[in-house]
């Protein structure tokens, strides 16, 4: 009985004194600035890599931008300061969302030629193309299959992919155009890649943060693509890329580079190798940031993009003649 009472006195005492709580910043420009800096400081996953690449120093960023986040700043000025600070990360997965604007860093594609024209694409697709599994597809006149997938946010289905591959069954090769595909759901990328895979293939590595330190990471976990149990493509394939290929689309290119019959044609992809998370600031603005980094099969970073096997750019001459330089190159490559 005495033991019982002892337990009953001490356990509640420990419980009462052990509140699990988190520091709150005030809802002032300075408070929002410090909250944002801390969220990124504790969760962002590419500090070390970007320090090596271009000398990013997040502690120094705090000192530079702290003086700009004055408490007298109105919400528009504060938004500009915070967006500028986030742009130092050079990451398309880092955004600041308010009710009046979306803060962004889009230089990863805005500083480069688009290498894609929907006007030209229409000349290849015509108006009698098919649509299945969110993909537009048709057979070009040299018996090359062409399919365009504009966003990995759009769902793919096994039955849809079966229909598309069955339609292309007698083609000499296949062009998968994912130019300006800004990403979406990784499982869609995996589902599509599995149609080009004949054995379990190592395609990359993943890891995640295990603590607040800039280098607190888990072990690298291998990423495999396993062959689809449905129809699989066994002929040459070209993936068309530009700088607008980002995030899950970047991962798709990373997967496809591992398969022997696949070639990448176009420009380097935009990158975006960190799986994004979101959090909010005291004033309600939402911040998105890269949280889980992924790597290619050689453990190399793909955050700033994946180079193609063949660099091809759209030429003015081809454009004037109504030809898409990348599609034309891919057709020749598949005909070889």
């Amino acid at each position: 009985m005495r033991k019982c009472f002892t337990i009953w006195i001490f356990i509640p005492l420990l419980t009462f004194t052990a509140c699990v709580d988190e520091e709150e910043f005030p809802d002032t420009p300075q408070g929002n600035f410090e909250a944002l800096w801390k969220i990124i400081d504790e969760h962002y996953c590419f500090f070390d890599y970007k320090q090596r690449e271009y000398g990013l120093d997040w502690n120094n960023i705090f000192n530079i931008y702290k003086v700009r986040a004055r408490n007298e700043a109105d919400k528009y000025q504060l938004f500009e300061v915070l967006t500028d600070m986030l742009a130092e990360l050079r990451d398309g997965h880092v955004n600041l969302y308010s009710s009046f604007d979306n803060g962004r860093y889009w230089s990863w594609h805005e500083d480069y030629p688009t290498n894609f024209s929907d006007t030209l694409q229409r000349k290849y697709l015509g108006i009698d193309y098919h649509i299945a599994s969110s993909m537009r597809y048709r057979i070009l006149d040299d018996n090359i299959g062409y399919m365009y997938y504009g966003s990995f946010s759009n769902p793919v289905s096994d039955s849809g992919l079966n229909e598309i591959l069955r339609y292309f069954a007698f083609c000499n090769g296949l062009i998968i155009d994912i130019r300006s595909n800004g990403g979406g759901d990784l499982t869609n990328a995996e589902q599509l890649a599995a149609r080009f895979c004949n054995e379990k293939t190592l395609v990359g590595y993943l890891r995640h943060k295990t603590g607040k330190g800039h280098n607190d990471f888990s072990e690298l976990e291998p990423q495999y693509i396993e062959p689809s149990a449905n129809l699989r493509w066994q002929k040459g394939t070209v993936i068309l890329t530009n700088r607008g290929v980002y995030s899950a689309a970047n991962d798709f290119v990373k997967y496809m580079k591992c398969f022997p019959l696949v070639k990448i044609v176009g420009d380097q992809t935009g990158g975006g190798a960190g799986m994004p998370y979101t959090s909010t600031l005291p004033n309600g603005w939402t911040v998105r940031f890269s949280a889980c980094p992924s790597f290619d099969k050689d453990c190399k970073e793909v955050e700033f993009g994946i180079p193609p096997d063949y660099y091809v750019s759209m030429t003015d001459d081809d454009f004037r003649h109504g030809k898409d330089s990348l599609i034309e190159f891919a057709r020749k490559l598949l005909a070889e």
Partner: protein
């Protein structure tokens, strides 16, 4: 032969019976919920929550031990301090346990102490987040628990004060690691300390129910009171709490049945 076997069975079976007193309480509540989960967000959320609580207690006369079964279901909608972002919380708790009891002042004060086994299943859903919007909750705990019950007359009516206290001792809970995505856990099957042993230090939760009950008839009572369920955990460098404060009202059914021991 069949009749002989039946006679033998009845002869060997004890004929004595024991009276079992049971109560079952159906109680609903409303009140404030306060939420923090640093996996989803650094900001705290608060709002209104609703709870349904079912308590069933069995006590056999002349026995020192009795049993208790509780179901608790909570649902809350909360907002952060900017009132722009919303979080929905849902939790189900199952408690089952045994109490040893002691009576004082005749039978007016009943003290019960023992242990509960607890299972919890729940979720948090941040309606404004697109990439890490949800958090799953699953835990099991062994909990020291106690109940004090005091019967007293007032204005010719019978009243009962009841106070119940539960704290966790040891258990296990599910948690993603600090920055681990649900994609890694469930799509890729990458385990990283996702089933975490807990103690009252790493998961200092605490639950109390204080009620007053008016015996309106031999079989029925009206019960009103307060439920405080303070779930907390600090595991995998993640902090989380759900503080539920509820004003409760419900009815209690008292019944006695005779059973073979």
């Amino acid at each position: 032969m069949k009749d002989k076997l039946l006679t033998l069975f009845l002869t060997l079976t004890p004929l004595s019976t024991v009276a079992q007193e049971s109560t079952s309480a159906n109680i609903i509540g409303v009140g404030q919920s306060r939420i923090l989960d640093t996996y989803i967000n650094q900001e705290k959320y608060s709002g209104t929550g609703f709870t349904y609580l079912y308590i069933k207690e069995h006590a056999r006369l002349n026995r020192r031990w009795n049993s208790i079964l509780e179901h608790e279901a909570d649902l809350s909608t909360t907002k952060d301090r900017s009132r722009d972002n919303q979080m929905i919380e849902g939790n189900y708790f199952l408690y089952w346990g045994l109490y040893r009891h002691w009576q004082f002042f005749g039978d007016r004060l009943l003290i019960q102490a023992g242990g509960l086994a607890n299972a919890n299943l729940g979720f948090l859903y941040d309606t404004t987040s697109s990439n890490n919007p949800a958090q799953g909750r699953f835990s099991m705990n062994l909990m020291p628990a106690a109940v004090a019950t005091y019967h007293f007359p007032l204005f010719g009516k019978q009243f009962t004060l009841r106070y119940e206290l539960n704290v966790p001792l040891v258990g296990v809970m599910f948690s993603p690691n600090y920055g681990q995505s649900y994609y890694e856990i469930f799509n890729r099957g990458n385990y990283d300390h996702n089933i975490v042993p807990t103690t009252f230090v790493s998961a200092p939760s605490f639950r109390q129910v204080a009620t007053i009950e008016w015996r309106t008839s031999e079989k029925w009572s009206l019960r009103v009171g307060y439920l405080g369920n303070y779930q907390q955990a600090h595991v995998n460098n993640l902090k989380q709490h759900v503080y539920a404060h509820r004003v409760m009202i419900g009815i209690v059914h008292h019944f006695t049945k005779t059973i073979r021991p």
